[in-house]
Amino acid sequence: MKKLSEFSIGESGVIKSIVCEGRIKRRLFDMGVTPGAEVYLRKKAPLGDPIEVTIRGYELTLRKTEAECVNLEVKD
């Protein structure tokens, strides 16, 4: 298990759980960040944060603080 915020560029994994509360969680869910979804870390912004991931076939950007809520199982 690894947090999405600890991923490096090019890594991918499957979401296992999302640990946070309220609005951020709801927003993540609405954008398709739910357990079982596959995530690929595409790139980081020029200053290292936020990050850009491919999920459910589209590009999503989120901050590291939000990515910290997302636990994944790393895929090779």
């Binding site: 927003r27 609405d30 079982g36 944060d49 459910r56 076939g57 589209y58 989120l62 901050r63």
Partner: protein, 782 residues
């Protein structure tokens, strides 16, 4: 007339479909959140006319952003005859997530599977017949951009609208279906419409629903006590969202067959590699921003001034002299557009003036039309093409999808100031016009962030303030011989942005304290801007400006002319030396002292009150500043050319200023444009620090009536009076500081240095003080 509502995710092509259906001219951009209020149009190509409502793009029907609430309430309360749910076929899973929620309402639905052309180009396929079967609602393949499938879509929608449809859910069989069904039956018993939808939202603990159904929520509370899920606990909101996506991945996603594309990078990916690159991403953004302003304003395009032959550039001796360049260098496209329009308006007003003189010789009629109306209107109209050019550049940024990337690369920086990168998109839009920019803040989920952004938007100098900048800096460069006008203009844009940053920091530390809003945003694929869409958008904007010129600006110029040519006892001022007796002069002189600390108040002699008047007029519409200037300047000039000595003797002009104006006219260095403002500068004896401060005041004060009305609507209740106070305070402080600093540079006296140091020290102490105080005061968590 039947009403069909268009609902779908942001950036799924809803607005394009709306335009294709109604032939309307709604603006299409390529970033999430272009439509933030619902729009209406009429579809006339079918058997009966149908009203089409374009709802804002949403990802879900949860109540977290104002636009989600707008869409949700529209479908629930206004009960459209059919909802056309647009689904981006290239992004099926996430788009169907909204579909599963809309399907729960008791309303006829048709799915428009959009962007089929793009999907098929990728080599992918969707089995839409099977999808129709599984969803239980008609699915029609369309391409809104190419206009294919639209007729069939409308036929299906009309067919569906004649039937009654009951809500259906994909949550049957999920762990809490039992609870949902019980709540549904309870709500149904209370004769509530859309019981299924409300039941699910109630179980999700949706704040709107909880407030609406106080009694029924108890059922949910009771149930929660007995329920436990190992992954979600009793977080039903998460459980429901998860169940939806699970269902979608299991039953809908397999209907799409993807061609294996390997690792080949798309064009969009390649562009993105450069534009959001670690090293050059931010420099590229700054370069693009600079290029936009350079293209719009520069009198020395591409900095070729020193290289090219002056006579060749300015086409001296030909009919086109000065149109495409001047002694300074080549003109940029924006300036060329201005020059062309200026020639056109000057020619037309010349004809009109001559035509009028052949009809009448009554002096006041001639004065009103020539000096009052024509001078003011032409002055503002001349700037319209240049403003539109600036809007074109900004629209291209929006259309291509680059704006979303700007938010992405700058979020880290903006977070330091207390706003997310997402809030920067409406701020950049503010360079075009504050009104759509303020409306756009609805895509921001956080209330405090919205307030901050709306208040800061006017500091991003809008198109209507462009004439003030261009005309005044241009005149300054001529009158005081200070370098190039371009540089002053760029610097002033930066000053505006600096004011935005400082005020945001202060508000974040005081009235708008709170955590920074989350930044979870879709990044759409880049695409080339659509020519047709761009032109439609610009044409709309042109109409908007021209309409404003012939209504509010026209009325203002007429009033200005009258009050500057009549005394309080309604007698016409025939003798120019009595200009200071006019109604406007007495009002202006009364107002003048407020602006003294800013450098354009009582310290100006003679006709100095015109600056006070122009600043006040600008509160109605910023175009009024220049329109008012030109009207007054032409009155002054008309008097001046007739009897300069009388003006001097009456104390309106000092002898030094008189000789200055004479020298300026004799030098012939300046063209038609800027001439009036130069005369104005000379006639009032204002110094350049006062002028800079005057521009800063106009840039940072209350924007205009229309923007104030918009802000009032967008801000929460009771916030507008504080916002107005905030704008007034900011403009006074910012321009007073500007004036002090500029005076220091101009005179370099010990006193000005001391005052500047004190000001800087006060500002630093204030910010540090707020910080220190806040550290002791923990944030209240929601």
């Amino acid at each position: 007339m039947k009403r069909f509502a268009l609902a779908g995710n942001p950036n799924c092509g809803k607005t394009t479909l709306f335009n294709a259906l109604t032939g309307s001219t709604a603006h299409v951009g390529n970033w999430p959140g272009v439509t933030v209020d619902k729009k209406e149009g009429v579809y006339k190509k079918g058997s009966e006319p149908i009203s089409i409502i374009d709802l804002p793009g949403i990802y879900s029907l949860s109540p977290y952003t104002p636009e989600e609430v707008v869409s949700r309430n529209y479908i629930l309360d206004e009960k459209p005859d059919c909802v056309i749910n647009i689904v981006d076929a290239t992004n099926l899973e996430r788009n169907l997530y909204l579909t599963t929620q809309v399907m729960e309402m008791d309303v006829p639905i048709v799915i428009a599977l959009n962007m089929m052309d793009a999907l098929e180009k990728q080599g992918d396929k969707i089995d839409e017949k099977e999808l129709t079967k599984r969803l239980g609602v008609p699915v029609v393949k369309i391409s809104a951009l190419k206009g294919t499938g639209i007729q069939e879509l409308m036929e299906k929608a009309i067919e569906s609208s004649n039937e009654i449809r009951k809500g259906k859910t994909v949550l049957e069989g999920c762990e809490i279906w039992h609870l949902i069904n019980d709540v549904r039956i309870a709500l149904d018993g209370q004769d509530i419409e859309n019981p299924l939808f409300h039941a699910i939202k109630l179980v999700e603990n949706d704040e709107i629903e909880v407030a609406m159904h106080q009694n029924t929520i108890k059922m949910v509370e009771e149930f929660k006590k007995t329920f436990e899920n190992e992954l979600f606990g009793t977080d039903f909101e998460a459980l429901v969202a998860d169940a939806r996506y699970k269902y979608i991945s299991k039953y809908y996603s397999p209907l799409m067959s993807k061609k294996d594309k390997g690792v080949k990078l798309s064009k969009s990916d390649k562009a993105d590699k450069v534009l959001t690159n670690k090293w050059v991403g931010i420099p590229i953004f700054l370069a693009i921003l600079f290029a936009i302003f350079h293209l719009t304003f520069s009198e020395n395009f591409l900095f070729l001034g020193g290289v090219l032959n002056d006579e060749w550039v300015s086409l001296s001796g030909t009919a086109f002299e000065g149109l495409f360049g001047s002694g300074e260098g080549l003109a940029s496209p924006g300036v060329i557009l201005f020059n062309l329009m200026d020639v056109i308006t000057a020619t037309i007003s010349g004809w009109l003036g001559a035509g009028l003189e052949s009809i009448t010789s009554t002096p006041w009629v001639l004065g009103l039309v020539n000096d009052g109306i024509l001078a003011g209107l032409c002055g503002v109209l001349s700037f319209v093409p240049q403003i539109i050019f600036l809007l074109l550049c900004l629209s291209i940024l929006e259309d291509t999808g680059y704006m979303a990337r700007v938010a992405f690369i700058l979020d880290r920086i903006f977070r330091r100031f207390g706003v997310s990168g997402r809030a920067f998109i409406p701020m950049i839009m503010g360079f075009g016009c504050s009104i759509p920019a303020m409306v756009n803040t609805r895509t921001l989920a956080d209330e405090r962030e919205r307030t901050l952004t709306i208040r800061a938007i006017p500091f991003f100098t809008c198109g209507a303030k462009l004439p003030i900048l261009a005309a005044v800096t241009g005149a300054m460069a001529m009158a005081f011989n200070i370098g190039s006008a371009d540089l002053i203009t760029y610097a002033l844009y930066v000053v505006g942005m600096a004011v935005a940053v400082i005020t945001i920091l202060i508000m974040r530390g005081t009235t708008q304290r709170g955590e920074i809003a989350p930044f979870i945003m879709e990044l759409p694929a880049y695409h080339a801007p659509g020519f047709k869409g761009l032109m439609i958008h610009l044409w709309d904007k042109t109409k908007h400006y021209v309409k404003k010129v012939f209504t509010i600006i026209l009325a203002s110029t007429i009033i200005i002319w009258f009050v500057s040519n009549f005394r309080w006892d309604w007698t016409l001022i025939s003798d120019p030396s009595q200009m200071n007796e006019s109604i406007l002069a007495s009002v202006g002189k009364f107002m003048q002292p407020i602006f003294t600390p800013l450098g354009f108040g009582s310290q100006l002699g003679g006709l100095g009150w015109v600056f006070a008047v122009a600043a006040i007029l600008g509160l109605i519409a910023k175009e009024n500043v220049i329109a008012g200037f030109l009207t007054l300047a032409s009155v002054i000039l008309a008097m001046f050319t007739v009897q300069p000595d009388i003006l001097v003797n009456a104390g309106v002009l000092s002898p030094e200023i008189l000789s200055q104006i004479e020298a300026l006219i004799a030098s012939g260095e300046f063209g038609e444009e800027g001439y009036e403002v130069v005369a104005m500068i000379a006639a009032t004896g204002i110094e350049w620090p006062g002028l800079i401060s005057f521009i800063v005041f106009n840039m940072t004060t209350i924007p205009c009536f229309a923007a104030v009305a918009t802000a009032k609507g967008e801000l929460g209740k009771g916030k507008i009076k504080w916002t107005l106070l905030f704008w007034i305070a900011t403009s006074f402080i910012a321009s007073a500081i500007t004036y002090v600093f500029c005076t220091m540079f101009a005179t370099w006296s010990t006193w000005s240095i001391i005052v500047s140091i004190v000001i800087i020290a006060l500002m630093v102490f204030a910010i540090l003080g707020i910080r220190a105080y806040n550290e002791k005061r923990p944030l209240k968590s929601k």
